[in-house]
């Protein structure tokens, strides 16, 4: 069942088209990564999805309803972790979380349980009485997350939650997202860090200049492009370079081979299929190598191929 569907959405800010015939479909229980550089339209798409922004064309439904007209019951199913820190800076951690819990809780017991669960989830127990403005950057992000997941939303939107986070805090966030997904939340995760998208998302939608460039699993996306696997081999003896090049020329998947000073690069296609075969051949022909490593294509190659630019440009 589709949790969120966006079809042909166009959103213009005066002369700038932020979303251009944008399509998205998010299925229940999945983690969909919305991957694109800064300014590509990710946050605009989210704001249309949440009913905060008007749009010029197209259709958006979340749980079958128009978000701009949906009521409180609909909002109870949604959780948002915005890229900006959005809580009361002057209040303490517990006061903030308790306040957000109060917006959803039915009674006192539920209220307390929700608050404690969110504190526990975000690992903020030691900091519960700290003023939010005095927390470190990583802890502030965790508080931002705690306020968004306090009601265990069925559909959680995380907009660049790891922006400017250190490695440890980033790991904490990613583990948390996985945990929420295991507990049943459908997740839309926007980022411009391809490693994150690759690591936690079931499917990835690549967005650039407001357009949906491609959607699929990492493997599906990689298969869309003319990708190749590069195997770099440093030979023990330069004299074996010609023998190696002759050997790989007989490979079915060979695209290109280059060599210089005992260092040979073999490009193979499709990626991920020929490495074992290559290593076996080297051993069989007693070609000694000092090092060998393989470079598989990643989302950045996909992005580069689809948009003509690097993801972090």
């Amino acid at each position: 069942m589709a949790v969120c569907v966006m079809q042909g959405v166009v959103k213009r800010y005066k002369e700038i088209t932020a979303l251009n015939q944008f399509d998205l479909q998010l299925e229940e229980g999945e983690i969909l990564g919305l991957l694109g550089p800064n300014g590509s339209g990710k946050t605009t798409a989210i704001n249309c999805m949440l009913g905060l922004l008007t749009y010029d064309q197209g259709q958006v439904t979340v749980y079958g309803e128009d978000p701009g007209k949906a009521g409180r019951d609909w909002k109870r199913r949604i959780g948002l972790i915005p890229s900006d820190l959005a809580y009361f800076e002057d209040l303490s951690v517990i006061e903030n979380i308790r306040y957000f819990a109060g917006l959803y809780a039915g009674d006192k017991h539920e209220w307390k349980a929700m608050t404690e669960q969110a504190i526990d989830f975000a690992g903020l127990d030691r900091y519960r009485n700290f003023a939010a403005k005095k927390l470190s950057g990583g802890l502030k992000r965790r508080l931002n997350i705690a306020c968004g997941i306090v009601h265990s939303p069925q559909f959680l939107i995380l907009d660049e939650p790891t922006l400017a986070l250190d490695a440890q805090s980033r790991k904490y966030v990613l583990d948390g997202v996985r945990q929420l997904n295991r507990l049943g939340s459908t997740i839309l995760y926007t980022t411009h860090y391809l490693e994150e998208a690759q690591e936690i998302c079931d499917r990835i939608l690549i967005i650039d200049e407001g357009r949906n460039m491609a959607t699929g699993t990492v493997e599906e996306l990689v298969s869309l492009i003319d990708a190749r696997e590069s195997v770099h081999i440093q030979l023990v003896s330069k004299e074996q370079e010609a023998a190696l090049m002759d050997l790989v020329r007989s490979f079915e998947g060979l695209v290109e081979v280059t060599g210089q000073n005992g260092r040979v690069t073999v490009s193979l296609s499709p990626p991920g299929r020929h490495l074992a075969e290559l290593v076996q051949a080297l051993n069989r022909e007693s070609i000694a190598y000092a090092s060998l490593y393989s470079e598989l294509p990643d989302l950045n190659d996909v992005f580069l191929s689809l948009t003509g630019k690097e993801l972090r440009e």
Partner: protein
């Protein structure tokens, strides 16, 4: 109900934890009234009365005799002239309504001011003009005009409206296109009516509490009694505080200016309205009452200041309930209009 109490608690905490609000709403009024009181009291205490001559036959001798700062000597014209030459008096109020002085000392300047006021009052009287300000602030029963009290009444009125800032802050947390927090709240089931009612209530109460503390401070520390009619005064200040919140809600929700712009704008507008009402002395008010009388009729600070002064300096409660109803009605109207603005859920830009 739990949601309402939660909003109440948070808005109360925010009022005390936000340094800006703490300073402008709670501390600044104490600082300003202290400075004003010091300035006015010092001026009065150090000022010796001014020896002045008035010629026999001056048409306003009885008025001049009422002016406390003058040590008035009634003399024949020749006798007065000699006294002035010998510097026994600073100036002469002559029978032809002119003022003669010898030099430009402070005392001589004060006499010029007295002469100017006398001439203004006379000119106004000739035109058949009877300014409300004079009628309500001057002699009434056995009470005399007290310029310090009248200025303080207008100042207190202005401070009661400082709850405006909490209204601005509430909208900043509610309207999705104004702050990330508001955008986040817009995606939650937050009840806006409950939020606004709780915020208005707690900020009205805090404003009333602060004004009470200010009045007690004035009474105990500076012996300035603005609590002649305590219950009526406090109710008036509480309703004024509510109107201040409502104005803040309305200004906050009716446009896209950031709160960083709305707060200085509010301070400036209140200072100007306060000056129009007489907070900086009676001249601007007299001028406006004469040439632009509608301005102060529309000026809420002027109405509240007048009611405060009349209640506490003149012990007059006439017009009090009408004033309260008008203020409460305006607060309701503006809060309702703000709710209408805040009903908007989708924006072209965030």
């Amino acid at each position: 109900m739990a949601g309402f109490l939660s909003h109440l608690s948070i808005r109360g905490k925010l009022a005390f934890k936000d340094r800006g609000s703490l300073f402008w709403v709670f501390l600044y009024p104490f600082l300003l009234v202290t400075m004003m009181t010091l300035a006015f009291r010092g001026l009065g205490a150090d000022m010796p009365s001014i020896r002045t001559a008035a010629e026999v036959g001056h048409p306003y001798l009885s008025v001049l005799e009422e002016v406390e700062i003058l040590d008035l000597w009634i003399m024949e014209p020749q006798e007065a002239r000699e006294a002035l030459m010998d510097r026994q008096v600073t100036g002469i109020f002559k029978a032809d309504r002119t003022l003669q002085i010898m030099d430009n000392s402070i005392q001589a300047n004060i006499l010029k001011e007295v002469g100017t006021e006398l001439a203004r009052a006379e000119a106004a009287y000739r035109q058949g003009y009877q300014p409300d300000f004079s009628r309500e602030f001057l002699l009434k029963g056995d009470q005399k005009i007290d310029p310090i009290l009248s200025i303080l009444a207008m100042t207190l009125s202005m401070f009661a409206f400082y709850s405006y800032f909490s209204g601005i802050s509430m909208v900043d947390h509610l309207q999705a296109n104004l702050s990330p927090l508001a955008a986040r709240f817009a995606t939650t089931p937050l009840n806006r009516l409950s939020f606004i009612m709780a915020g208005s209530l707690i900020n009205t109460l805090l404003s009333a509490f602060n004004m009470t503390a200010l009045l007690i401070y004035l009474k105990l520390v500076w012996q300035i009694d603005f609590l002649t009619a305590p219950s009526q005064t406090l109710l008036l200040l509480a309703v004024t505080g509510w109107l201040g919140v409502a104005i803040g809600l309305f200004v906050g929700s009716s446009n896209r200016l950031s709160s960083k712009a709305k707060i200085p704008l509010g301070i400036t507008v209140m200072l100007v309205l306060g000056a129009f009402a007489g907070m900086m002395g009676p001249d601007p008010r007299l001028f406006l009452d004469r040439y632009l009388p509608w301005l102060n009729r529309l000026n809420p600070l002027s109405h509240v200041g007048k009611l405060l002064y009349r209640l506490n300096a003149l012990s007059i409660s006439e017009g009090y309930w009408t004033g309260i109803l008008l203020l409460a009605g305006a607060a309701l109207l503006l809060s309702g209009a703000s709710l209408l603005f805040l009903r908007k859920r989708q924006y072209k830009e965030l």
